[in-house]
């Protein structure tokens, strides 16, 4: 109520001042800046200053606390150290395997589900709810449930062996070689529904005429889906893809809940590496070097996008 009252006063001021020229604009601009103070603080303070701060720290030998003394600056030493640290090399290797596998599997399964959902099926809402509900739950829960399902002594493996298939083996989490595949399965279970929903929206955005034309030309349905409709859904595919990429780079909760980076350090990821080094391992300098490496692909991708846009604009102008 108090705010409403002041708002009325503000309005009155504007009314009174509007006869005398440009003044009201100043007041409203001030209000606008005032109203967006949190935005200014977040954009500049967090997404600019904090990033620079992390970047600068990566050139120091800070341990627990930030150290900016003249003798704390060690140049690129942390980066050299980072790329000769086994734990980091494994992390980078893992994020590639995990990322490639989960993005490919997720997109393929998501598109397949969307195509099947698009067949004028009954109970579409039911299927949609079932495919999408895992996404409502956190990755911690996803990780804990799948860890239980993949438990070597009580999970699927033990159950199927109990049915008589004594040779059956499906317990990826116990071995350093296969643990990452267990993570991929859980990640897909959590996220495929979203890809499906985005792809389905894309499918339904395709012009109905296309379908008629394909039918007249006698092109089989599956070929229409794969070679005609799929290339037309660039927007939906890109959206799903970006969403997946952001998720992969951030993956943290799932690992902590499911494998805690193990067995050994076989499922370490960059996100975990950074958190460990700024907390338990108290090696902030090295952690920030790793964080900067995490930011690099993001900057490159966004830079590429800006460049493509800039070129497109220039072509338009010169034409």
């Amino acid at each position: 109520m108090a705010q409403l009252a002041t708002a009325k006063e503000g309005g009155a001021v504007i009314k009174a001042a509007s006869s005398s020229g440009r003044k009201p604009f100043r007041l409203s601009t001030l209000m606008s800046i005032l109203g967006t103070t949190p935005l200014i603080l977040t954009a500049v303070g967090v997404f600019f200053i904090c990033i620079i701060y992390s970047f600068v720290l990566s050139f120091t030998n800070s341990r627990i606390f930030p150290a900016f003394g003249a003798d704390n600056f060690v140049g690129g030493d942390q980066y050299a150290r980072l790329w000769s640290t086994g734990r980091w090399l494994i992390s980078v290797n893992n994020i590639w395997i995990f990322g490639l596998l989960s993005i490919v599997a997720n997109m393929t399964a998501g598109y397949l589900l969307a195509v099947f959902m698009d067949q004028r099926i009954k109970a579409e809402d039911w299927f949609r709810s079932i495919f999408l509900y895992p996404f409502a739950m956190s990755l911690v829960i996803t990780g804990l449930v799948w860890r239980w399902i993949l438990d070597p002594n009580y999970g699927i493996q033990a159950t199927v062996r109990g049915w008589g298939f004594t040779e059956f083996a499906f317990a990826p989490l116990v071995s350093a070689q296969t643990a990452i595949y267990g993570l991929v399965v859980a990640g897909i279970w959590n996220g495929v529904g979203v890809t499906m929903a985005i792809m389905l929206a894309g499918l339904r955005g395709v012009d109905a005429e296309i379908w008629k034309a394909a039918k007249i030309d006698g092109i089989p349905t599956w070929r229409t889906y794969l070679f005609i409709v799929l290339p037309m859904m660039r927007g939906a595919i890109l959206t799903a893809f970006i969403l997946q990429c952001v998720g992969v780079v951030r993956v943290y909760d799932l690992i902590v809940a499911m494998t805690q980076g193990g067995p050994g350090i076989s499922t370490q990821m960059p996100a975990i590496f950074v958190i460990q080094h700024i907390t338990d391992r108290s090696n902030v300098g090295l952690g920030m070097a790793a964080a900067t490496m995490m930011l690099l692909p993001v900057i490159l991708l966004l830079g590429l996008q800006v460049f493509v846009q800039w070129r497109a604009n220039r072509v338009k102008e010169s034409a």
């Binding site: 967006t36 349905t221 902030v284």
Partner: protein, 306 residues
Amino acid sequence: MTTETLASPAPRALEAGPRGAKPRTLTISRVGVYVFLVLAALFFLMPLWVMVVTSLKAMPEIQLRNIFQWPQQITFEPWLKAWDTACTGRDCNGLKPGFLNSVKITVVGTAISIVIAALNGYALSFWRYKGANFLFGLLVFGAFVPYQVVIYPLIVAFRELGIFGTFPGIIVIHTIFGMPILTLLFRNFFAALPPELFKAARVDGAGFWQIFFQIMIPMAVPITIVAVILQVTGIWNDFLFGTVFAGRENMPMTVQLNNIVNTTTGVREYNVHMAATILTAAVPLAVYFISGKWFVRGIAAGAVKG
């Protein structure tokens, strides 16, 4: 104009009717479609089934090693234990303190972050000052920045401000990291409103706050619902910020759940773990099933523009 038609157009495509290949009568391929979908549905439902079944068994029955089987004797003991007495290290209070913390964090965090985002979106649509577009660009960039890049500087800053590991601290964190997506959501919504609406209010002499509270907020109900769904599930499901910024006193439910399951002392009680997991998942699941298509719309809104 109903509130329904005001929602942003992109997510609405999700609700359009099927338009794919025409269905024929019941042929083999139709049967194949349903077989595929039912099998897929079974895969997605299996973990939920396993969770529920495990949580209703006593430990001796779990040791029979059949995770899919319905319990021969149903017991609610694991649920009570998970809620009330399960241990994390030395504390044996179950999940309930975590539940209360999560409720507090989610309610306050959602409310504050949405008010701020709505104000941002409104100012960025109608009262763009010099440099506003640059700030907005920086904020959207923030949506793509891995959290790990800014977490340490934020820890340092929060220590300086004395809010590290406190309730206000965790609220500020959720406000910061919810801001890019939510601001985008509100800005796109306000920018799509007919500009005459704003001009008419200006002619009538309404100012910044008056237009916001009396005209824009009532119009923004649909997008606010989407934002609430997005934030409630997002904050409730958060784990990383809860571990780093909330402190022991305000530990959210997800963190406590993980601690209970990973506590190394004593026998591993899988039934209690699964009951605890369901309890932690209950709130976002309820939001999901109650909100239905709004939830899908929220995902689409967050995804398309995120």
